[in-house]
């Protein structure tokens, strides 16, 4: 390995839902796995999340939602990313998101959804393994 790859991940809590234990645990696990993690805290609007992701030049955004608002909030985040011409940031999700909602979310271009009981190592492996590596990473390492 010529480069020690460091992924930058934004873990964001959209909306006013207060369940943040999972998001914080995931943020810590990713950080312990060597990633650079920005955790937003609660009260994030989709606009704030997308702007932070762009400003911080992250490889992926993890959205944690336990309020049931995922069908409203995820599409808004995806639309904003599209509006701003961003296609190289992976968006993945976590929280109480029923299985029946996964397919419509995936159709929007959202990556994997991690629900209660998921292993943090699974998330680490997922982020290290998937499409992030080819796009943003190369751009950052090899210049824009």
């Amino acid at each position: 390995m010529s480069h020690q790859k460091t992924l930058r991940i934004l873990i964001a809590k959209p909306g006013l839902d207060g369940h943040d234990r999972g998001a914080k645990v995931v943020a810590r696990a990713l950080s312990n796995a060597g990633m650079e993690v920005i955790y937003s805290g609660l009260h994030q609007t989709p606009e704030l999340i997308v702007n932070t992701a762009i400003d911080e030049d992250v490889d992926a955004i993890g959205l944690s939602i336990l309020s049931g608002a995922h069908n409203t909030i995820f599409p808004r985040v995806m639309a904003l990313l599209k509006e701003k011409g961003v296609s190289d940031i992976l968006v993945f999700g976590g929280g109480t998101i029923p299985k029946k909602d996964w397919a419509p979310l995936e159709a929007l271009g959202i990556g994997k959804i991690f629900t209660p009981g998921a292993d943090t190592q699974e998330i680490v492996t997922y982020l290290q393994g998937t499409r992030i590596s080819n796009t943003k990473y190369n751009r950052r390492i090899h210049g824009r």
């Binding site: 909306g15 006013l16 839902d17 914080k24 009260h43 049931g68 608002a69 209660p116 943090t120 190592q121």
Partner: protein, 566 residues
């Protein structure tokens, strides 16, 4: 060993204890340790558990001093003389979703099904101090609880419910929410000609909920959140004597990651700080201490949880006696509500959660809880459906009516193991309380982030234990199924945003703009003179100002704070 023991008051003669210890040593030598299943047996919070307990496990136990009788200090055996022989714990099921019209229906459903009290839970925007039509509320209106923006919503929420007879708990969580929502509840009672002195119930109103649990950038500074919480306590002590103005939310601390000792130590540190503040404001300990109430979790470790409640009662009784010297012994009685641990529930094989929650509720009952909420089995999936709410209520009714665990008081007292574990837990809680004290008290540990870090560490340790398999979770890290045998119905939140937006729009046209402005000015002036905000807000809400307008006025005056995030 035996020389250090005082026989006076002890349950055991030194001679007998020495004999027992000798025999126990002999037994231990023969004990085949290599045949044990685990390298180490511990409680969920990490205390070592021995294979066997004997009278030598509590050598200095003085019955009259350390255990005593129900209804009397140190209250370890229960806060009331008759406990569940007089009346069983209150079945208090949490409910709230959508617009107030919908939740009103669920309240009536639960009361008709035999619930005895209501725990009203509010949606995320209400909890965080925002109106339904605030841009930041987008997506969350009506979720996680009921949307309440104004006194009109409060009137709708409790329409047809006898608020002078049913005990109502307002799960307001954060002081910024409580100061408005409790004021609306009180003002609505006045409108219905129910005197505040007749209201029975509780508001949650815990400043750690705003500054440590569920944290966000730009929230109220800890001292402000603490002040708002104390304003409600003071207001109730002076005007609503049967209302519990705070429920120190150990449950939520536990859900956020705390272990059992942290849960108890942090609520007590918080409660002690509130007491100091009330005394500073000129109240006497007996004016308000009997109305301070607590809210605990019932987690997986059955015995540890029972001992936690018992240890908390004894410790609180002694702390209050030693520090504040009350005349009324009720000031020393720690009364608490229990909710079964949501964090222990699984999305996998959700019907297993019915069993888990039943064990949790049993520990609460054996630990002497005053009221209990049992979680819906689908809580790791969605807001509880009517079926899961009903099953949870039935879980309580089966415990109360069929098991006969309610026939005698504090039935596990005197068990060598239980008394030893109660003592050990109490020691750990005292140790943590001393640490908070040495760090300058609870408000200080919030300001400097020490408490955030402590809770975050515990949450992470818990996750690691689950992932390593050290902590078995059936259906998650063992006994998994590839196909779910039961398809849980997913609760659909009724349309709320449009309903609430329309109401706010109409209300802002209908109400007197002058009166509304005057009401907000009054709040601002009260901030300026550092007065009691609840005194003013109970009146302000009658001018139909909204929760969001009130919160904004307070936030604009006091400024914002950025807590450490993780």
């Amino acid at each position: 060993m035996a020389d250090n023991r005082s026989e006076k008051g002890s349950l055991y003669r030194n001679e007998a204890l020495t004999e027992i210890e000798k025999a126990e040593d002999g037994w231990c030598k023969k004990y085949p340790q290599e045949r044990e299943r685990l390298d180490e047996f511990t409680t969920l919070s990490g205390l070592t558990v021995s294979p066997l307990y004997t009278p030598a496990s509590t050598p200095n136990m003085d019955y009259l001093q350390d255990l005593g009788f129900p209804g009397e200090p140190p209250f370890i055996r229960g806060v009331y003389p008759t406990m569940y022989r007089g009346s069983t714990w209150t079945r208090r099921q949490l409910a709230g979703y959508g617009p107030p019209e919908e939740t009103n229906k669920r309240y009536r459903f639960l009361l008709e099904a035999g619930a005895e009290g209501i725990n009203g839970v509010f949606d995320y925007p209400t909890l965080r101090g925002y109106d339904s039509d605030d841009p930041v509320a987008f997506g969350d209106v009506g979720r996680g609880g009921v949307a309440v923006d104004t006194i009109e919503d409060m009137a709708t929420l409790f329409k047809g419910i006898p608020i002078d007879q049913v005990s109502i708990s307002l799960v307001t969580c954060q002081p910024i929410c409580n100061i408005s929502v409790q004021s609306m509840f009180f003002a609505n009672a006045q409108t219905r000609n129910v005197p505040l002195e007749h209201l029975t119930g509780t508001s949650q109103n815990d400043f750690l909920m705003e500054t440590v649990m569920s944290i966000a950038p730009d929230v109220s500074p800890p001292r402000v959140a603490f002040k708002l919480s104390c304003d409600a306590i003071e207001f109730c002590a002076r005007n609503a004597g049967r209302w519990n103005p705070v429920s120190f939310a150990g449950y939520n601390y536990r859900e956020a990651g705390c272990n059992a000792f942290q849960e108890i130590a942090f609520v007590m540190a918080n409660a002690l700080a509130c007491i100091e503040e009330m005394l500073r404001r000129g109240l006497k300990i007996d004016d308000f201490a009997p109305r301070l109430s607590f809210f605990f979790s019932a987690h997986n470790d059955f015995f540890e949880e029972i001992c936690k409640y018992r240890a908390a009662r004894r410790l609180w009784s002694r702390l209050i006696r030693d520090r504040f010297k009350p005349e009324n012994p009720r000031s020393q009685a720690l009364r608490f509500h229990v909710q079964t641990a949501g964090v222990a529930l699984t999305a996998q094989q959700p019907l297993n959660n019915i069993v888990r929650s039943a064990y949790h509720a049993l520990s609460a009952a054996l630990g002497g809880a005053q009221s209990v909420h049992v979680d819906g089995f689908d809580e790791a999936l969605c807001t509880p459906t009517e079926l899961s709410s009903l099953t949870a209520l039935r879980t309580q009714q089966i415990l109360q009516l069929e098991t006969r665990i309610t026939h005698t008081i504090d039935p596990l007292a005197g068990s060598y193991f239980m008394e030893n574990l109660t003592n050990e837990m109490e020691k750990r809680i005292v140790g943590l309380l001393e640490e908070v004290d040495s760090r300058g008290g609870i408000v200080k540990t919030v300001e400097d982030g020490w408490i955030h870090r402590a809770i975050s560490d515990s949450a992470y340790d818990y996750q690691k234990a689950v992932e390593s398999g050290e902590m078995p979770v059936v259906g998650v890290n063992c006994h998994r199924l590839s196909e779910e045998p039961y398809k849980a119905e997913i609760f659909a939140t009724p349309e709320t945003l449009a309903v609430q937006e329309a109401k706010l729009k109409r209300l802002r046209v209908e109400r007197s703009a002058d009166q509304a402005q005057k009401a907000l000015d009054d709040i601002n002036r009260c901030c300026e003179r550092d007065g009691n905000l609840m005194e003013v807000i109970v009146e302000s809400v009658k001018a139909r100002v909204s929760e969001g307008e009130i919160s904004r006025t307070i936030r604009d005056f006091y400024g914002k704070w950025n807590p450490p995030l993780f």
